[in-house]
């Protein structure tokens, strides 16, 4: 299923993913950077859906933007507790 609408949607989602990636690399607050990296995963899962791969989209949405963000935050809190 390929229409012009799909292509426009892919361009918008892809540009958003790149913007979130730049935020994830350059933002000074670590928590914001972590959330931005989760958003990159979410945009990637929408791209997988457009590329007709629903299995991969489900996995990426559950693991990439769900569990990995939780893991990052746990690690961050552990490091911060050690520093104090």
């Amino acid at each position: 299923m390929e229409t012009n609408l799909n292509i426009i949607l892919a361009i918008v989602i892809g540009v958003l993913a790149l913007v979130f990636a730049i935020i994830a690399i350059y933002h000074k607050k670590l928590s914001v950077a972590i959330i931005a990296s989760g958003a990159v995963s979410l945009m990637a899962s929408i791209l997988f859906l457009l590329l007709s791969a629903p299995d991969v989209a489900m996995t990426e949405a559950a693991i990439g933007s769900g569990l990995s963000v939780i893991i990052f935050f746990y690690a961050l809190s552990k490091i911060r507790k050690q520093h104090d």
Binding site: M58, A62, L67, I70
Partner: protein
Amino acid sequence: MIKKLTFLALIAGFGYMLWTGLAKYNAAESLNRISSYYAQDGLEEVGAANLVTAVVVTYRGLDTLGEVSILFLTASILGFFLVSGKGPKIPLQDSSEILKTASKLLEPIILLFGIYVFINGHLTPGGGFQGGAILASALILAYLANPKEGINKSIFRITESISGVVFILIGILGIVLAGGFLDNRIIPVGSIGDLISAGIIPIIYIFVGMKVGAELTSIVTNLKHSPKNNVE
């Protein structure tokens, strides 16, 4: 400054390599030989409506076994690395009443959805890995709602070991009763599209789902900073 310019040149070189590889890329008009074999004869051989599941569980079953063992290794290395150190004692705050009540309401629904996802893995998008991730998220919600209770880790250890052993036993049973390791034709392949079809695939996916869920939960619980669980 010179350092950054060097890095930029490195990245630009790599980008040029990628560009030369991808600039003239044209999508193929039809499937290649292996994929068309999977799509044509695989349907009758395996009987799974979801071809990705057929590839993951049967044709590339050894890859899945290796992946599951990598996850197991990761979980055990994490436990080895993080539990040994004595962290500072942190007083845990109790969560609010609203979150507790809502988590009691939500946990059964999320668990049921995870089980649905991995039982229907051969019919609809989904399968053991996605279902396991959903189960793990339900268990993490349970922990977040009641942080003082902690999680009994031995249950996860036992679930994980039993599921892994059953997975390999089913694979060996495939050598004895059917064509090879992890062959799914131990029990007859039903008609495509039924819930009980595709031979042994739903049973394998149930165990893969339980194993992945237990492993992901133990990874996350090893990373959290609860002093109570470090003692255990």
